[in-house]
């Protein structure tokens, strides 16, 4: 094998690729500009929606409580609720978002409380609608306070201490370090994003250097040169791998800068976030930085696997368009195991360590939580390397097949 030839092809492909707008967009613009813009945009819209919802005093209808002026007055006095006149169409109005929530009380609610009986309070809201949810939350809070006061009044009337109904306190104390908490929350999401970027980064160069070359007629030109097919495949493959890895690395660097900035921007408490970040000694306080770096290492053979697999599949296509229609649906095949790794209860074991993509997804989830199972890490890295080598060998084999290269 001639390394000089491989490098000659690689550097030519690199130069060629860097002048291709389509590939530049996928390799550089999407990970560095579009992804952070999406994160920022989504964060901005989400925070605005939540802020607006919180700023609104929800409209609430009181149903019943005809003979209960006390509770009615307390509700009307609440600055966090805006009481509207009752009507039979409250369900329709809540559904149509003209009313946020309704609360139904027995007519003799006040009297029932005075008698020491248990009264039923029913809150009507629209599940999944954020403003209706906030209104229901406000009503929950109101009646929790109202109940506490009623209990206190009953205890006082009987001369009993508050401890009677509260014999002990329960307090929860988190012992997990912040990165483990972060790993549990976003650990599954990170490998999913990395795997997806790895795939999309490889996709366009792979299609361009195979089907694209066939379509443009340059494949035959290069095949007429003395370079061996293996060297030619390896040179092109290195370019596809570069595309895949650079997409992941650029997205990683870009996210490492933009996500904390976004957090500071949206939290409205920049100093608190900065202090938190400084205390954690990094820009990503919620995940283990060493684990994150280890995740990138684990993704290396995945990038090789993707680069070789997409290269082989795209090689069969006669045109760029045909390659696109063949390769694009594979995103689903890639996403499914990555998504399965995010499911709660799917834990890494020796068997799953051999399932391509799912294994990397699961182990990355553990790595960003700061958990290092060295035996499984070795098994996953080794097995993925074997799959990647097999895919690369297949790519070389296919490139030597006349019916694939000269498919008409």
């Amino acid at each position: 094998m001639k390394t000089r030839d491989i490098l000659t092809v690689y550097f030519k492909e690199l130069r060629d690729t860097l002048r291709d707008k389509r590939t530049i967009i996928t390799m550089f613009v999407i990970p560095t500009v579009v992804m952070p813009a999406i994160i920022f945009g989504f964060g901005f819209v989400a925070s605005k929606v939540v802020r607006q919802a919180r700023a609104e005093t929800p409209t609430v209808m009181i149903l019943g409580a005809a003979a209960s002026p006390e509770v009615r007055a307390a509700l009307e006095a609440s600055p966090r609720l805006r009481i509207v006149p009752a009507g039979d169409d409250y369900r329709v109005r809540i559904s149509e978002k003209r009313l946020r929530a309704a609360v139904e009380l027995p007519d003799d609610f006040d009297a029932a409380l005075a008698r020491g009986e248990t009264a039923q309070v029913r809150i009507y809201h629209y599940e999944g609608e954020i403003k209706s949810g906030f209104a229901a939350g406000e009503l929950d809070r109101f009646f929790r306070d109202y109940r506490e006061k009623a209990i206190q009044a009953r205890l006082d009337a009987r001369g009993l201490p508050a401890a009677l109904i509260k014999p002990f306190d329960v307090a929860r104390q988190n012992v997990a370090p912040p990165e483990k908490v972060g790993g549990a929350i976003i650990g599954g999401f990170i490998p999913y994003i990395i795997i997806l970027l790895c795939f999309t980064g490889a996709m366009y160069p792979a299609m361009d250097l195979t089907a694209g070359e066939k379509e443009r007629g340059t494949m035959e030109t290069i095949l007429c040169s003395p370079i061996g097919r293996t060297e030619l495949v390896l040179g092109k493959f290195l370019m596809v791998l570069t595309g895949s890895l650079s997409t992941v690395v650029l997205a990683g660097v870009s996210s490492a800068i933009t996500i904390p900035l976004g957090g500071m921007f949206f939290s409205r408490s920049a100093s608190a976030v900065a202090a938190n970040a400084a205390a954690s000694g990094g820009t990503m306080p919620l995940i283990d930085p060493l684990g994150l770096m280890a995740s990138f290492v684990m993704v290396l053979p995945v990038a090789v696997l993707f680069a070789a697999a997409i290269f082989t599949i795209a090689l069969f296509a006669k045109s760029y368009k045909e390659a696109q229609s063949t390769v694009s649906p594979l995103i689903v095949v890639v996403i499914l195991p990555a998504l399965a790794g995010m499911l709660p209860g799917v834990e890494l074991n020796a068997k799953l360590a051999l399932v391509p993509l799912l294994n990397v997804s699961l182990v990355c989830k553990e790595l960003v939580s700061g958990v290092f199972h060295w035996d499984l890490l070795a098994l996953i890295f080794g097995s993925t390397c074997v799959y990647a080598a097999a895919a690369l060998a297949l790519a070389v084999r296919m490139f030597n097949r006349e019916d694939v290269i000269f498919r008409t």
Binding site: T8, R216, C224, G228
Partner: protein, 249 residues
């Protein structure tokens, strides 16, 4: 020198079954001569040339190009030949200079030699004006000149042309024809495949008429005229491929 011996190429197609694209083709071409492969579209010209350029492997038969066997030393065969066809396009995002240098490197040349040869070819082909411009902005003529320079950068002993004037305007086609003549004058072994009779008449020392994958007749233009008692090459061609004319005794 090119020596093709009983070259046969069979393709297998799911719908059409076995296709004998090239069937027992033998011919010979010496340095300083042009061998014209004349045939209609689909006659087997391109497949024959791809076999010689080691892009395809023969099912049966063998060939030597510049003394190297296409089956045993394909890399050396490719290093000894320049292949120019309508289907061999250029990289649009590279400049002409980068394209020429790339193929020089693939042929094992060092940077100094590539620079010297590039200057020489740019002088001969009058390419200096567009040498550092990207190929995708070129006119057809500029592309043809770049293709010629790419083909000649390593100064190959053997040149294969497959329908090189296909789709070209008169001026660009004339550049190609002049260039092919120059190759002969420099002692190169040239194979020229076409379906255009006038080009064969102008250029070729020996003509091989190919039809349905079989080489039906070989000879100089004069020999073919005498053998088929016909002056017009087109008429000779039609007689041969339709089998309507017997060779004169």
């Amino acid at each position: 020198m090119i020596d093709a011996r009983h070259l046969t190429k069979v393709f297998h197609d799911k719908k059409r079954g076995e296709i004998r694209a090239v069937d027992d083709v033998s011919f010979h071409c010496e340095p300083g001569r042009i061998y014209g492969l004349l045939g209609a579209n689909g006659a087997g010209k391109t497949t024959t040339l791809r076999l010689l350029a080691t892009l395809l492997k023969p099912t049966v038969g063998d060939a030597t190009v510049a003394g190297y066997g296409v089956m045993t030393e394909p890399s050396k065969v490719r290093a000894s030949l320049g292949f120019l066809a309508a289907s061999t396009a250029l990289y649009g995002r590279l400049t002409a200079r980068e394209t020429i240098a790339y193929f020089g490197k693939l042929n094992g040349m060092d940077d100094a030699l590539i620079a010297t040869r590039t200057k020489l070819l740019a002088d001969e082909l009058e390419m200096h004006e567009f040498l550092d411009r990207r190929v995708d902005k070129f006119s057809t003529g500029m592309k043809q000149k770049t293709s010629i320079a790419r083909t000649l950068i390593h100064d190959p002993a053997v040149l294969i042309f497959d329908e090189p004037t296909l789709g070209l305007d008169v001026m660009a086609a004339r550049t190609i024809v002049r260039f092919v003549r120059d190759c002969r004058a420099r002692g190169k072994t040239v194979i020229y495949s076409t379906h255009i009779m006038s080009e064969v008449e102008k250029l070729c020392d020996t003509i091989g008429i190919i039809h349905d994958g079989r080489l039906l007749a070989t000879g100089t233009l004069e020999e073919l005229r005498t053998r088929f008692a016909e002056n017009d090459l087109e008429e000779i061609f039609v007689k041969i491929v339709t089998g309507s004319g017997k060779a004169a005794a």
